[in-house]
């Protein structure tokens, strides 16, 4: 697992998770398409939040998926949170 220290790396990891939920290949997932358009509802958002917390050691709320509905938007937000954590250490 590469370190998730850039927006691109985080987006790649998120894409792989979303692809696994959809039983599809990662390159089938458009990182700028809202996840809801793929039929991923709030329940998937909860699962994804759990995986994000365990993987990135960040506390995230399901509102993440409401406010950042695409892979790229989510990755940008998460990278900002991680960078903020590094800066405050």
């Amino acid at each position: 697992m590469p370190t998730l220290d850039s927006t691109t790396a985080i987006a790649g990891w998120l894409t792989s998770r979303v692809a696994s939920y959809l039983d599809t290949a990662p390159d089938e997932v458009d990182p700028d398409q809202p996840l809801a358009d793929y039929g991923l509802d709030s329940v998937y958002a909860l699962s994804l939040c759990g995986e994000i917390e365990d993987e990135l050691n960040l506390t995230v709320e399901p509102t993440l998926a409401w406010d950042y509905p695409t892979v790229n938007a989510m990755a940008g937000y998460l990278h900002g949170e991680l960078a903020g954590r590094v800066a405050s250490q």
């Binding site: 939920y21 809801a36 509802d41 709030s42 329940v43 998937y44 909860l46 699962s47 939040c49 759990g50 995986e51 917390e53 365990d54 506390t59 709320e61 399901p62 509102t63 998926a65 409401w66 406010d67 509905p69």
Partner: protein, 565 residues
Amino acid sequence: MVHAVLTADLESVFGDPFDHANPVGHDAVLAADERSEPLVAGEQALDAWQANAEFVPAELGGRLTTVDALVRRLRPVFRRDAALGLGYGVTSLMAALNVWSGGTDAQRKQLADTLLDGQRVCVAYHELAHGNDVTANEMRAVRRGMSLVLDGRKEVINNAGRADHAVVFARTDERAGGRSHSLLLVDLSELPADRWRRLPRYRTMGLRGCHLGGLEFHGCPAPESALVGDVGAGADIALRSFQVSRCVTAGLGVGVLDAALFTVLRFARGRRLYGRTVAQIPHARSTLAGAFTDLLIADSLSTVAARSIHLLPANGAVYAAATKYLVPLLLEQAMDELAVILGARFYLREGDQAIFGKHFRDLPALSIGHAGGVSCQLTMLPQLPQLARSLDRAAQAPTALFDDSAELPKLALDALRLRSGPTDPVLAGLPDLLTALRRADRTEDTAALAAELLAELAELRYDIAATTPHDLGVLAPPAALALTERYATLLAAAACLGTWRHRRRSGDTAWIRLALHRLLARSRPGVLVQPAELDEALFTELTERAAHGQDFCLDAGRVHRQLVD
């Protein structure tokens, strides 16, 4: 006006329920129920007691400090008449929680004054077409200039026919998702009278004294200042309030079983059949002991959940849902079993046992009124994988979660999370608590119980790990939904064990052993035989408490009711 001083406990206010002359006794409660009217004398007693102050935080002049204390102080109302409790004002609390957490200082002050003035606030989430699927709700609030224009209807809303204030959940964005709805605190008396109306009352099977009605709006402008929190924050705020109100309704329901159990015990001691009293028949004694144990389980779980709101707010989302799922089920199943003891008396709407029938009808209505069982299961299900993954590294719950003499931190609704995580401190404590029980009780039965519960925990983790996100939504297969029942059952086992260990009680292990037997039998029926001496021990405690005027809850508090010899 400050209402911080609690004058008397409600048990003393309500007096002996079996006294025929008591204006808030069983006769009066049943007569009001037959007329489908609220118990007026009960509402007056609650007014005099300033019951609404229970719903207002202390810093705003009320008496609300902790969720646990709120439940314990209001439980006497539900012991007497659940329709009175819900109808008088628990729904005002459900409405107000949103304003306490999401409102401006001005809104908080306004609502506090309204409630402390004795007025009701109704909470308008429900639309018949959408049930617990709240984010599908259709009623709209559309911004036009400085107004929000309301269109649509809210149905089966308690007190909608008589409250002058409402907290309304309305769609403010056509897109799907969690940001589509907002909350509004509306003073109905200030809305243009030709743009809204109160819907007629709905007739119900239980809680017949409640004024369940509705509200309908047609292009009705509400001031922008009615918004509670940001536009789109409705679900966010409501899902936090639900965690508190789920713990509260579950905990209050325990009072209903407490009263019903007394009624049946009183009957069983007086009724003679086959040359002996019903209370001398082993099946009846075992049923009564089992119902008493289920009550203690329900109280343990709902108390732990209520205290978790303060101590483990990151876990409220799953603990409250598990509690609101399992506690009503335990209570209703205990009522079913107790009904058997009453025999044909169960069907009579008159006589000393008629009150049992009322409790029996009220309880399911109370349970479903806030969030139905399956809705709670669906809330739990997607949260389980992360909790199960983290059990080995989870810190254990603080002992104050179980010890009712420990002070709780202030209620902080904004500390609650929409999703429980990252760990599950209560369930993580199960193995150590079982070890403590085995040290205190070296019987083979306890060793077997501990082994079976640990095996069930291991299997549950395995089965949760085997799910995929596809299994965890509304279309979850029944086996996946069953994981939530098994989870809630083990959570209840941990809650009971923590209560047994850390709350000041006698050193006896009978109740905790019988509690664990009954919980285990839910997930693994028939694997262990419950020793008959446990039934006898619980039956003895039950009758002693009844004889000494103590309730059947964890508190064993004073109650005004007596057995007849």
